[in-house]
């Protein structure tokens, strides 16, 4: 009788631990960011430790990547400057004249000529307010 009670006591203690373990698993699963995969396009951002950290993301923003070879892409899809221009014009038409936020993620070693192609496409589409994405703090 005493032995059975001891066994029951031991098995009862484990219940709370299993609950905590599952809660931790759920926490880690929930905090894994899938957006990292979309953004990890092999671009090594330049450092800008004095910029303001990005806390709120605008859903309308268009992120344009320029790699070190000058190739332009959006969400890993490579685009020519003409296709980029048509996309930006369409975005401006759909926003009914409201400026579409454009963020240029340029590789640190990219030549300005590649960035210029994106900036010129933005200007042609009527977008004059652009932002350059940079690394404020390295995570690891």
């Amino acid at each position: 009788m005493k032995k059975q009670k001891e066994e029951e006591y031991l098995s009862g203690n484990l219940t709370a631990m299993i609950d905590v373990v599952f809660q931790l698993i759920i926490f880690f699963v929930a905090t894994i960011s899938m957006q990292d995969q979309a953004m990890n396009s092999g671009i090594d951002l330049a450092r800008a430790p004095n910029g303001k950290a990005v806390t709120v993301k605008d859903k309308r923003e268009i992120m344009i990547d320029v790699d070190k070879s000058g190739r332009i892409s959006i969400s890993r899809t490579q685009l020519s400057p003409n296709v980029l221009l048509s996309i930006l014009k369409k975005a401006m038409a759909e926003s009914q004249g409201v400026q579409v936020p454009i963020i240029i993620r340029g590789d640190a070693n990219a030549r300005h000529v590649g960035i210029k192609a994106v900036m010129d496409a933005c200007a042609t589409a009527g977008i004059y307010k652009i932002k350059f994405s940079a690394l404020k703090e390295k995570g690891s």
């Binding site: 698993i25 800008a48 640190a108 070693n109 300005h112 900036m119 932002k131 350059f132 404020k136």
Partner: protein, 136 residues
């Protein structure tokens, strides 16, 4: 006489949770090992003058700071500078007026990180009236 092994007899409705707890701990270990802090990003604002805009800053405007970025050099108002020198001069200029116009002209062969470094310097000094122009 050999002792008989005790077998765990489960009644109907009971589950052996040992394997599940093992899997749960393995999953937890995996996530703890693979999680890493994310990079903190920043967006540096610039204004690109439109060709039709009347407010295109002319390079000849007085009280305008003109920064030219070449492939391997920098100039501030046509004076060759290093980043350190430029930081000191810009700090002095910013102490008088943070609303003055900064015109950043980038050569085609200049590196993007140099432009970002200049923008970072302006962000540090709270200089917000920035324009970026590309030059050949």
């Amino acid at each position: 006489m050999a002792r008989k092994k005790r077998r765990q007899h489960l009644t109907a409705g009971e589950l052996n949770l040992t394997a599940m707890i093992d899997v749960a701990f393995q999953l937890l270990s995996f996530f703890i090992i693979t999680i890493h802090p994310q990079d903190v990003l920043t967006n540096l604002d610039v204004f690109r003058p439109s060709q039709e805009s009347e407010s295109v800053p002319s390079p000849a405007m007085p009280n305008m700071i003109r920064i030219m970025i070449f492939s391997n050099a920098l100039t501030l108002n046509e004076n060759p500078m290093t980043f350190r020198n430029m930081d000191a001069v810009m700090t002095q200029l910013a102490s008088h007026d943070t609303t003055q116009t900064i015109l950043i002209m980038c050569r085609a062969e200049s590196k993007h990180k140099d432009l970002v470094a200049v923008l970072n310097m302006c962000a540090k000094l709270k200089l917000t009236n920035l324009s970026v122009i590309s030059s050949n």
